[in-house]
Every structure is written in structure tokens, then in C-alpha cells.
Symmetry: C2
Subunit: 575 residues, 2 copies
């Protein structure tokens, strides 16, 4: 492609809202453009890279026995009501009505649709296993779309669904997809880590998130260098503090004026925070959005509550719980903002972190303004409706597998795989007959890749201060020929010859034949991040050109033939 | 692909609502499946054919200098308000709100978005011309979705937009796209006809529709065998009847009890229908859906009103006009159901067909129950607000170009090209600076292909009573190897060898290794319409196979090598 003919508009300045490198660079290179908050379009270069990622995914999915199909983005509400997710998915499900007032949504994911296909198509064990996938546009009506392609409202996703006879079959399908994902992200040039993850609104038992490591990622992961534990912080299990070997002391109310935080009360009483417990107060909502109860969650004073673990413990969707209005909740349950403890609380669900029963003589709020209670003990002084791990694994905490101190890192969730089990086949009645003509539930897995988010993740990991540095496999073009003086006949002819020879060899090549100063062309070539640059300049009469890789600082002067050969060799080995 | 591993479910019976061959066959072959009224998904074989059509389009668009991009399906209302189409497009525009109550639509077309791109990207004449296209999912909230992929609510379209400096540039771009469309539809194996068409909700001056000829098509076209006139019936101009050389007779009221139709009144009075005129009564609506006026349209008694011409004459969208309630309209305008004529009508817009002023002494309604008026003459007795061609060209009418009797045919609109001119650049301010630094409006064209509808059109033209007969270029697979007895070792080995050799030669091949009776396999191969069938049966020990093309009745016994060679030759020459 001749740059003089390409619709390309690079930007010097991008809107302030673009804060992270991938968002800034994809806008600056003109590869994407914003249509409205959280909705982006792809311009010629950007779309080429998206299609390359799609092709890599397609090849690897096909290799693993996946069969590509294509379902609609518009989905009828009925299927979502059947699975129970019309409510459970919450406000991120982008809902709409047709002209007859019938309810639809724009699919954020397709479990219902694919389950519906399989329940009507499959009747016998002979038809299993099967793995169907699609590469398709998805929707999520985000409250706060941000970071460009990272968190957008319309995006491209590859979603695959496996259907097996039993758990063993699912385990195999899951592992196959896990391995496929490793190949896909490796081919995309990403540095990534598969980590254990929560199953969230998708559901199921097990899940791994494929996280491209990046400072700007929204995913926080905990990992251990001593063993191979790695999990999202939402998901990571915590080791309970050992039970205290202490006699239970008599409960005692103490006056603690103005000490609303754990830090204040610990300081005031001269006790460590680990000898305190803190309360977090919530209200929950039903399907109509009406308040339907209160929740008080307790963790040791120095811990942080893990919301994901809490909603999982309660068995409710994340969007159906909010921090409570303390006064209103106080009137109903006896809690007192800043001074809530488990003793004296009533008419609410009490959830205690799993380590609390083992800890003796803790200091808790007295449910009375300016008072705390010392020596509060589980069993004797209070009981919880649910006792389970609801705390967050912090950096330095012991690894739940080996006990070594864990580390934290940030990353971008580019893919996630789920063992759904029978969640959907049960609610939607997807069954098959086994060898004995007995009905069995189909066992499902599902597997997603954020295609457009992967594009952004690649840019996050491959850029410098001058622009993008595309891996060859996903570069919009492999090579760029920069002609210093297109009006110079020898330079023009040399460039044309290289252009033709590279194209004949299957190289995707840009010819920068624009009437621009060389400085502008070099800057654009760097910004666009084309892997190989061949510069045709003063050396042309002697048959010399300059060969430079975007990722390296060095340039080399080579003969035209050697430059062409080197480019082809490199590109073929990496594409 | 081995059929035993493919997720394939062919149907013996399809729902009654499937009335036309393409709908029936695409469902029976399991290539598409209905998700909800007017919304279909594509299963593995169907999706392969869609992707082949897409690839043909992509290759030809790229060859014509088009640059592929990809914009969102969700579009902000603001852009549509700017162009005026938020109202003009009517109820087929599928509207929705986001969680903040902001208005959006699911794009049925992308003129606004592409104009928005160009007005921000292009500033100088040097950046023109440019042609951008996308292959993308579109939406139309049809009142009556039907015929499967023919008229659906979610569908795949290729839409392209050209941007030129002036009309001459547009003419060139338009011709280039016209030629490209001819290549695309030819490669898809369609018999089609480009015909002049109305511009409808898209707008602009000129348009051609590419019509795949088919009895079941919703497009009616008029064409002339004596010259090359061809147009949709909506669009086709009509020749006015020659003016009558007759003296104007005195107007006369006649009692015509119960003669509400033209036929009745002509019979009753013993005059030809061509000596009568008929009225059609309408009410129009404003943007809020409130009634804002009445329209009476008059054509000669034997003519049919052409609604498209009428709304074009009125300059209003098609969805803003409806047949009037005659009683209500009568109270306001003096019209009388069945007896309305132009004399005595008031407070409504009168539109007269262009031939009426030349016709003398016509019989019209008298605006009085059971009365008509004879010898009504334009000018003397009535005047119209608009006089223009609003009649329908019927089969046998004189060709507007050469006068020979025209013929009618039906077809499927698979593509349409439009000269938009400056419609959008004016309303949305898309300008560039010319060589003299003067602002000029960008001149636009737009070009659509219904990708999924093209798939259906291909099936309409390529099927028989046993199933689909795919052209090689869009067949989901090129060849199928039918193994009579897969458990026979010689047959199995022979089939495997053919399978491998064909795949090595780049042939897309299905191996029917299912444990089914040969009859079932043959029936399925015919139903699926795979172009080449190689049958491995009793001849296998002698190295013989059966070679059969789906489109031909004959079978041939060939050596394995000759069968393979013939298949490869045929497929390479047609793919």
C-alpha cells in the first residue's frame, strides 16, 4: 500500500481522557477512533491488526477442534430469564425493546444461546464432545467505560463453548482450551500469566484468567515465587491467622470517644489492630430493586474485606448489594456507624471471616456511640450466619499453598476460561441420552478472549516513547519503505523495486511515497511501529539502503538485495 | 473435516413459516438457525459460505482501492439528529438507551458515522478521493421480518462510502463501484441485473439496485427488451398518455348510486376507465407523530398510484403518511369516501399525476354521496398543488425510453449503489479546501451489499428438489468423499488417501465417515450441495471411484488418481 493513497491521520495531541499508553498510541496512530464514550471504531491500520489477532485465534481454535459459528448480538430476554441471568447480570446488560415492546439484550456473552443450540441439536452421547466458537461483537453497558479498548461498551470477543458427557470430558476440553490460549497469546507476542480466577456472572466452579502483565491493568493478581500459586486477588484464598491460645476474658464495655476507625481505637486502647475486628455494613436488593435485607460483615481489624468473596458467600449478584445507609440500618438492626460490633446486632445477616472464631478477646464496636467492647469471643458473645473466608490476600501475606510471602502484580485480563459444569444445562434443560438410554446433563465449559482488548494489551507491552513496536505477527504491515526524496528518480525506482519484490514474497509492505520531509516520515514510521524499515536515500545510486528494525536502535547499511532478503527472512520467521 | 466430528444437524421438516426455497433449504441443511423472529445465527457450514462471500467482496473492494475499516453497530442519536434521519428513518431504526438514558440506535447504515470520520480527518483536496468500507452487522427493526435471511432484523452488510472533490469524481467512483459489484455478484454465481432505483431513506440523486432475478424476490423490476431500460417499478418513469384533442364540455353532475369503484362508475356510465380519474386520500404526520395535514392524490382511473413517487413529490418520509380515515378527512376537506373528486376539495394538498392536465372531460367523484361529475378539466375546474408523475409503470405500458411495451420481473435486491452528492456533507458540514484555499463540500457516494441476503439469493438460484447446488466459489466445502462402508478396510484406506491428497492440493473437503446407510449419505451430500462428490465403494479394490458433480445428473467411474485430478482441476478453475 502506498501511504500517499492511504486514509491515515496521525494525531499530535490526543484528548486528556486518554491516560494509558495503549489508548494514547492507538489514538495518535489513528488506528482507532472514538465514536462516543466507550465505543470505538477501527481505521485501516487498526483493523488490519484486529484481523490478524482474529486469524491467530481462528487457526488455533480450529487446530484444537473448535468449529466456528456466528450467532446474533441481539438476544431475546426469554433465554436470559430461563437461565436466571436477566436479573443476575445487572445493569451492565444492555437492554432494549423492539417495536412491539418485546425485551432483548445486546449479548455480553452467549452461554444461553449456545446452550439453546445444543439442547435442540444434541440428543445422544455420540454427538459429544463438541466445541463451538465465534468471533463476534459484544456489549457491556459499563458505568465507567475507560482506557480506550480496555473497558469499552462495544467490543470484539472470541467466545467458545465446550459440551461434554461428564466432568472428565470437561477437564480435558478445559485443558485443551487452556493450552490453546497459551499458544494464542504467545503468538500475539504477549507476556502473560494464567491465574486462578473468580467465576463472577458467568458462573461455574473453576476458572483461569489469562493476564497480560501490565502496570496499567485493572486486574490485580497475587502470586508466589516459592511455588506456582497465582490467582486474582478477588479469588486468592487466604491463610487464617492461627487460633489464639488464650483464655476467654470477661466481656467489657469501654468508653472510646470519637474513635471511629480501627486505627483510632487501637491507638486509644493501646492494642494491636490484630486484636480488633471491624464491621462493614450493607443493604441488599431484590429483582425489582427493592431493599430486601441488611448484611454485616466482620473481618479482623487489620484485614480488608473481599467483596467478591462476600457476594459469593451470600450467593447474590454483585450489583444487588451496596453500602448501607448507617442511620437507616441502625434503626432496623441496632448497628451504629463507626461503633458496630456483632454483639447486640439483630435482623441482619452476619458474615464472619473464617479466622474470627479462632481469635480470642477481640475488641469490637459496642453498637453504642463512643463505646467499644473488649474481649468479644465467637460462640460465647456472638454467632454468625455464615463463617467463611471473606478477606483479601495482601502483598506479604502467606501464600495459601506454601506459606511464603506472596507478591502482587497488575495485569490486563485478555482471556478467561471457565468450567461451567451443569449450571446452564440444568437451568435450561440440556440433556443427552447415554449408552443406556438414560438422560444425563451435558457438562459445559466456556472460554473467552477479548480480541480488541488483546490489541490494547499488545500495545501496552510493546511501545516506547516514540510509538508502537508491533510484533511481526500482529503488525498491520510487516515492512515500510521510507523514500527520502520521492522526486529523485533513482530513489523512486529503487523503492518501487523493493516494494514489488517484497510484495511478491508475500510481505505486507507500506511504501512511504508522500511528499513529506524525511523527519516526518521517520517519526511516522516509528509511531506506527512497523517492524522493519528500509530507507532509500542517498545510497541508492550505489545500490545501498538502510535496514532498521523498529525494536532495535541500530541501523545497518546493506545492499538492496541483502536488505530485501534480510527483511523476508525475519518476517517469515516471526509472522 | 470428518463429518463424524462435525456439529451438523440436518432437518427433515422445517417450520411452516419457511415458505421460500432458500429459507427452507438453509434451515434443512442446518446452515442457519432462527433465534427469534427475524434474527438468525449461522452454523459451521453456513458460516463458511458467509465468510467466502465476505472474502470475495473484500478482494474486489481492495482491488478497487477501497480501504477496510470497522465502525460500531451502536450509534449515538446525535449524529442522526444532525443529518435529520433520527425522524426520517422511521420505526425501522432500532432505538435504545444506555444506562444513563442517552439515545442510541443500532445502525441500519453508516452514512452519518462515515461523514463524521471524513469531516474530522479530511481538510485538503490532496486527501481525496477516498473510499472506505466495512463488513459489519446491521439492524432494521422490521415490522414483518420474513423469508429467513431475505428480510431480517440483524444481518451482515458490506457498506462502502466514497468521498470526492466534485460530481465528476463521484461519477468515476460510482462507476468503479458499479463495475466492482458486477464482478462480485458474478463471482458469487448470481444471475443479476443492475436496475435504476429509488434512493429512499438513504437519499441522493441516482441509484442502481443490483437485483438477483428470482420469482420469490420482493423487488419488482420493469425492463425493456427493445432497449436497455431497467428500473425498479417504484422508480420507473411512466409515459403520459397523449393529451386529448377535445373541446372542454360543460361540467355536469350525475347521479351514480352505489358506484364506489372506478370499474363500477365506468360501467354505470358506459365510459372507458381512461375517461375517469380516481382519488387516493392520505393523512400525514409530523415528527411527534401528530397529524399535520391531508393529501389527495389523483391518477387516471385505470392507473395505479406509485407511493414512492408520491412521498418523493411531497418530500416526506414514507413512514409519515397513511391512508386517511375518510370520515374524519371528509369533515376537514369535503372529501367523500368513494365519491371524491378534485372539485370542491379544500384544506388538503392536491397532487395530480402529470398526465391529468392533458386529458379532457374526465369523470371524477363529486364530493357528494352517490354523485359523480362529468367533464372535469384541469385548469378550468380544479388545480393541483403538485403535478408530477405519481403513477406506476405496469407490464405492457410503453417503455419510457423507447416506447416498446415493458416487461416485469421479480428479483432480490442484493446490492444498491447511491450517488449521495452533498446531502450529508451539507447537513453535517463535511468540507475540504481546494487548490485556492476555498471551502468546498465533499461529494459522496455510498454502496451496500447484503452479505447474508446474497447467501440466500445464491440458494434461490442454485437448488433443485434434492437440495442446494453451491457454486464452487461460495460452497462451504468443495468436495465430499462418500464412503459406502467405512468399516471396509480397503474403502476406508482409499478414502483416507483421497482425503489427504485433496487437502494437500488446497481443496476443502468433507469426509463422510459416518456410520450411516449409503442412502442417507447420498441424500445429505445432495442436500448440502457440495459441488464434487467422490464415492468410494465396491470399486475400491480395483482402484475405482465414482465421480459426480452436484449440478450434473451423470456419474462416472474413474481411477482414484483421475478422480482426484479431475476434482482439483474443476475446483481450481471455479473457486
Amino acid at each position: 500500500m502506498r501511504l500517499s493513497k492511504m486514509h491515515l491521520r496521525t494525531l499530535r495531541e490526543v484528548p486528556n481522557e486518554a491516560e494509558i499508553p495503549s489508548h494514547i498510541l492507538l489514538l495518535r496512530t489513528g488506528m482507532i477512533r472514538k465514536l462516543v464514550s466507550g465505543v470505538y471504531g477501527f481505521m485501516p491500520l487498526g483493523w488490519r491488526s484486529v484481523r490478524k489477532i482474529e486469524e491467530i485465534i481462528r487457526e488455533e481454535m480450529d487446530r484444537a477442534g473448535g468449529q466456528e459459528i456466528h450467532m446474533s448480538a441481539v438476544q431475546p430476554a426469554e433465554l436470559w430469564q430461563e437461565s436466571g441471568r436477566w436479573f443476575a447480570y445487572g445493569p451492565e446488560l444492555w437492554r432494549l425493546k423492539d417495536r412491539n415492546g418485546r425485551d432483548f439484550c445486546l449479548g455480553p456473552t452467549h452461554e444461553e444461546i449456545f446452550t439453546d443450540i445444543i439442547r435442540s441439536d444434541v440428543s445422544s452421547y455420540r454427538q459429544l464432545p463438541v466445541n463451538l466458537y465465534q468471533i463476534q461483537t459484544k456489549y457491556r453497558d459499563e458505568a465507567r467505560p475507560r482506557f480506550g479498548l480496555m473497558r469499552s461498551r462495544e467490543f470484539i470477543m472470541k467466545d467458545a463453548y465446550s459440551f461434554d458427557r461428564d466432568q472428565e470430558g470437561l477437564d480435558k476440553s478445559y485443558q485443551e482450551m487452556y493450552d490453546t490460549y497459551e499458544r494464542i497469546f504467545t503468538r500475539c507476542g504477549l507476556t502473560f500469566r494464567p491465574v486462578e480466577a473468580d467465576t463472577g456472572a458467568i458462573g461455574g466452579s473453576n476458572s483461569h484468567e489469562f493476564t497480560a502483565l501490565s502496570e496499567v491493568g485493572e486486574s490485580e493478581i497475587a502470586y508466589c515465587e516459592a511455588c506456582d500459586m497465582a490467582a486474582t486477588v478477588e479469588r486468592a484464598a487466604c491463610v487464617d491467622a492461627p487460633a489464639t491460645e488464650e483464655a476467654e476474658l470477661p466481656r467489657e464495655e469501654v468508653h472510646t470517644p470519637g474513635t471511629k476507625t480501627i486505627e483510632e481505637v487501637a491507638d486509644f486502647l493501646g492494642i494491636p489492630q490484630t486484636k480488633t475486628m471491624k464491621a462493614l455494613l450493607f443493604v441488599t436488593y431484590d429483582e425489582e430493586g427493592k431493599e430486601n435485607g441488611y448484611v454485616a460483615a466482620f473481618v479482623r481489624g487489620d484485614r480488608e474485606l473481599n467483596m467478591t468473596k462476600l457476594v459469593n458467600a451470600l450467593g447474590i449478584p454483585e450489583h444487588s448489594i451496596e453500602f448501607a445507609d448507617e442511620e437507616k440500618m441502625g434503626a432496623a438492626t441496632g448497628c451504629v456507624g463507626g461503633f458496630t460490633g456483632p454483639v447486640g446486632l439483630h435482623d441482619c445477616t452476619i458474615v464472619a471471616d473464617s479466622e474470627l472464631p479462632g481469635l480470642k478477646n477481640l475488641c469490637a464496636g459496642a453498637c453504642k456511640v463512643d463505646y467499644h467492647m473488649k474481649n468479644v469471643n465467637y460462640g460465647r458473645d456472638y454467632k454468625a450466619d455464615i463463617v467463611t473466608d471473606i478477606k483479601t490476600l495482601k502483598e506479604g501475606d502467606p501464600c495459601p499453598v506454601c506459606g511464603a510471602p506472596v507478591k502482587h502484580a497488575r495485569g490486563i485480563e485478555v482471556g478467561q476460561v471457565f468450567k461451567l459444569g451443569t449450571k446452564y444445562s440444568e437451568s435450561m434443560g440440556a440433556i443427552y441420552k447415554d449408552e443406556n438410554q438414560k438422560d444425563q446433563l451435558i457438562v459445559m465449559g466456556c472460554y473467552g478472549i477479548g480480541v480488541t482488548r488483546t490489541l490494547a494489551a499488545i500495545v501496552e507491552q510493546h511501545h516506547d516513547e516514540n510509538g508502537i513496536i508491533w510484533p511481526v505477527s500482529v503488525a498491520p504491515y510487516h515492512a515500510i519503505i521510507t523514500v527520502m526524496k520521492p522526486e529523485d528518480e533513482v530513489q523512486a525506482q529503487t523503492a518501487e523495486r523493493i516494494y514489488k519484490e517484497l510484495m511478491d514474497a508475500g510481505v505486507e509492505v507500506l511504501l512511504d511515497d508522500r511528499k513529506e520531509r524525511p523527519g516526518v516520515k521517520f517519526k511516522d514510521a516509528d509511531l506506527l511501529g512497523i517492524p522493519v524499515r528500509l530507507t532509500v536515500g542517498r545510497g541508492a545510486p550505489e545500490g545501498k539502503i538502510e535496514y532498521k528494525l523498529r525494536r532495535d536502535a541500530e541501523k545497518e547499511e546493506l545492499s538492496v538485495d541483502e536488505g530485501i532478503a534480510r527483511a523476508i527472512r525475519l518476517i517469515n520467521s516471526e509472522k
